[in-house]
């Protein structure tokens, strides 16, 4: 067992940012871009789906829950492939791979985020809703000003965990040929031929540092919220 990590040093910038600034952003930079954009989009997606899934109208509730459960029953890879086929057909033009992946990740993660939103909203005591309604607030005002702000606090650690999953899930962009970290790793591996062990250990370490930082952050948040609740 003799590992030679020189190959990592030689390609370090390529791993981190791809050909940027002389070419498109790639590597870790693109991974982060995909994760952050999908995270923002699926935050709103999850919020909307979560609220709709709690609607008092069955006509809204049932189809939304069906959609959420369908997505949750599928592998992410399947969702990405569906986007790959559906988006061009629906929009009548070709869609860049990175946008396909962002759409796939957003749809997939929104379904999971909606469950967090649901649990967060249902975790707010019922008395809050009743009190708000009896002070004369309308239904949507109660949700927006009373329930969501309180529920959101409990959702934050789960959101951060979901973001960690999202970072890991961006590796699937490799399959449709987006040159994020995993893709760049396989590229360098194909080019250099004899250092697969070193390259994949390095890539795993990069993902680990990133994800572990956010996991620890979420744990810290959770403790802090528990502490604040206890006083």
């Amino acid at each position: 067992m003799d590992l030679d990590f020189q190959v990592i040093l030689d390609n370090f910038t390529y791993f981190m940012i791809g050909r940027y600034p002389n070419g498109p952003l790639g590597g870790l930079g693109l991974t982060m871009y995909l994760a952050v954009v999908s995270c923002i989009l699926s935050f709103f997606g999850g919020l909307i789906l979560g609220l709709l899934s709690l609607s008092r109208y069955a006509v809204i509730r049932y189809p939304v829950n069906l959609f959420i459960n369908t997505i949750r029953g599928l592998p992410l890879l399947m969702v990405i492939f569906w986007m790959y086929f559906l988006l061009p057909a629906l929009m009548g033009k070709t869609v860049p791979e990175s946008q396909t992946v962002i759409m796939g990740l957003t749809v997939f993660t929104s379904a999971y985020m909606s469950q967090i939103v649901r649990a967060g909203i249902m975790g707010v005591p019922k008395g809050q809703t009743e009190a708000a309604i009896s002070t004369g607030l309308k239904g949507w005002q109660t949700m927006l000003y009373i329930i969501l702000p309180q529920g959101m606090r409990n959702m934050i650690p789960s959101f951060v965990n979901q973001f960690v999953s999202l970072i890991k899930d961006t590796s699937l962009a490799f399959i449709v040929g987006v040159s994020e970290l995993t893709h760049v790793g396989t590229q360098v591996n194909n080019r250099t031929m004899s250092y697969p062990t070193e390259i994949f250990i390095f890539i795993a370490a990069v993902y680990f540092v990133l994800c572990f930082a956010f996991t620890s952050f979420s744990r810290w948040l959770e403790q802090r919220l528990a502490w604040r609740k206890s006083i």
Binding site: G73, P75, F85, S171, L172, T197, I201, Y207, F208
Partner: protein, 234 residues
């Protein structure tokens, strides 16, 4: 908008149907191997993580954190492309004589999922009041025997729903094995698509199969929750 001619007959019979069925078979095989392996390994890691011996606990924590916080895809690539340099020659020879793609995917799935399973098992065990362990120890059982006879039988009951959820995740995650050429369901759906250009049909078939799998398991779990965990309610 859609000028697409649907032809469902190609996936309900003939060559493409057989491809999809053989893909399903491999998905199920890979899932079965993965579930058994991940459960056993997860159990071991969970017990290590709760041992009284600090280095073992620390080792288990490193294992858990590392494998939970790296993408499965990278782990699959590592075992497939990169593991030969760090594995002993005997293991490499054995792997080369088996179906290596399948083995690499199975190893990656087992290790990745075991890290999640270990945490579920651990929280199941921690939910058993610690007096149970104290009573067992003072009755003269060793740590391992107390686990075996007193704690685990109780913990298993509450751990089953999250565990089954992880098993379902494993089955869905097995679709990533296609990237290293394991001819499972997603791989075959893509294969049908590239041979027949009938992507919608092929992916619908695969989607329906995955959904049938998860819906039936979710249904069984609901039943379990009603009959076993909260029997008084029904």
């Amino acid at each position: 908008m859609l000028k697409y001619h649907f032809d469902w007959s190609i996936i309900t019979s003939g060559k493409y149907f057989e491809w999809l069925v053989s893909g399903l078979k491999i998905t199920l095989e890979l899932s079965a191997v993965g579930i058994v392996g991940a459960f056993v390994l997860g159990l071991v890691i969970a017990v290590l993580k709760m041992s009284n011996f600090k280095p073992l606990r620390w080792l288990a924590s490193v294992y858990l954190e590392f494998f939970r916080n790296t993408p499965l895809l990278i782990q699959i690539f590592f075992w497939y492309f990169g593991s030969y340099k760090i594995l002993p020659t005997a293991v490499n020879e054995w792997l080369n004589n088996t179906n290596f793609e399948f083995a690499a995917a199975a190893i990656a799935l087992i290790i990745y999922t075991s890290a999640f399973i270990a945490e579920d098992i651990r929280s199941g065990i921690l939910s058993i009041p610690k007096e149970q362990m104290e009573a067992a120890r003072s009755a003269g059982f060793s740590f391992l025997r107390s686990m075996q006879y007193i704690i685990l039988p109780q913990a298993v009951r509450i751990t089953i729903p999250p565990l089954v959820n992880q098993f379902l995740n494993l089955a869905k995650n097995s679709s990533l094995a296609m990237t290293i050429g394991v001819m499972e369901l997603t791989y075959q759906a893509r294969q049908v698509e590239s041979y027949s250009f009938k992507g919608f049909e092929a992916f619908t078939a695969a989607t329906v199969v995955y959904l049938a799998l998860s819906v039936s398991i979710t249904f069984l779990m609901d039943l379990y929750n009603k009959k076993v965990l909260n029997p008084q309610r029904s």
